[in-house]
Symmetry: C2
Subunit: 221 residues, 2 copies
Amino acid sequence: MTHVICTVDMVLLTLHEGGLKVALLKRDREPFKGVAALPGGFIHIEEDTDVRAAALRVLTEKTGIDVPYLEQLATFSGPARDPRGWSVSIAHYALVSFDVIDRAAHPDVKLLSVDRPISLPFDHRLILETAVSRLRSKSQYSSLPCYLVGETFTLPQLQRVYEILMGELINKVSFRRKIAEMDMLEVIEGQFESAGAHRPAQLYRLKAHFKQQLQLLERGL
Amino acid sequence: MTHVICTVDMVLLTLHEGGLKVALLKRDREPFKGVAALPGGFIHIEEDTDVRAAALRVLTEKTGIDVPYLEQLATFSGPARDPRGWSVSIAHYALVSFDVIDRAAHPDVKLLSVDRPISLPFDHRLILETAVSRLRSKSQYSSLPCYLVGETFTLPQLQRVYEILMGELINKVSFRRKIAEMDMLEVIEGQFESAGAHRPAQLYRLKAHFKQQLQLLERGL
């Protein structure tokens, strides 16, 4: 039995210029050398404690980007997705504010709008679409969008992030009720952001224990 | 670089005697020969088209059980979970009515109540608990429980299945409203089941196109 090629791939998402973007890395080796793809690589069994550790290591080594939060997406597999042979990619995804990618300033990392139908090598288009649809469904009831909005934010800014992810406008009253119910934000006392003609808006941040753990809103049947 | 051991494991769940059970198979080889474990095996790159096909093949070959529906659960990995070396298990789960397991009548397949804290080989306890918690969260808004109830059923029978999965009693009116909203059942004209002193209850079945595709109820923010 010839062995299965076992890799990890990372879908790193951010908001930039009002849209949802994915970070692509120009490949430095064959196959698809020079082509922009999701950052990915082999599991190193001497150093990685599990596939999550492998995904974090690969991302940091190849792009200089550290992420606080990362979630397993799904496994993609088969004989045809990689020209090197029967392969499994254990795909993960993470959300970061644009600052995090900007600070790393890797010359071969580019942002692509997730809605632009550009083809990607391997089955990376499918992996990307799976991540975006997972995110859009989770953003309806999770703390995930808060990873995209930056360290501090106003409620209108946060609402705008949810709207971009969900692709539709949200009623302000029901948005605020839901956010209150999830109990994941804290007021930054005495800090406001002025916004043009409006009165200054209160600044918030994510409560510390939500920074590395996903908050899901339980819903009864 | 030594290669990663790549396997699939199956969490096959059913309802029997009023409780949620998992199908375990006595292992016919080392490691853990003779011990009951989740059915699993290696990917065969000559015949499997992807990991889902591998999981279906392994289940049928080893237990004689065919499942109509199967979902990827998560990937479990690391150097310690399998004594043979650094391994990845791509775990899947499926729900079937008890008939399906009973018909296969495999002598080495046993049912274990998921809530009995019996230790299992490898990290199969963790895999099982992950599947049960996924199921219990999904059962709040999906068609998954309908795979457990048998071909035809009354609404009180279906409600009882949801209650067992969720571990709590459900209000009848809101249950029926939710089920109607999901629009996944069809009336079997003229067929009723009598239930003791009550008047006969209408029989239903899952609409054909839900039999192999999961119905998730969309929820607005």
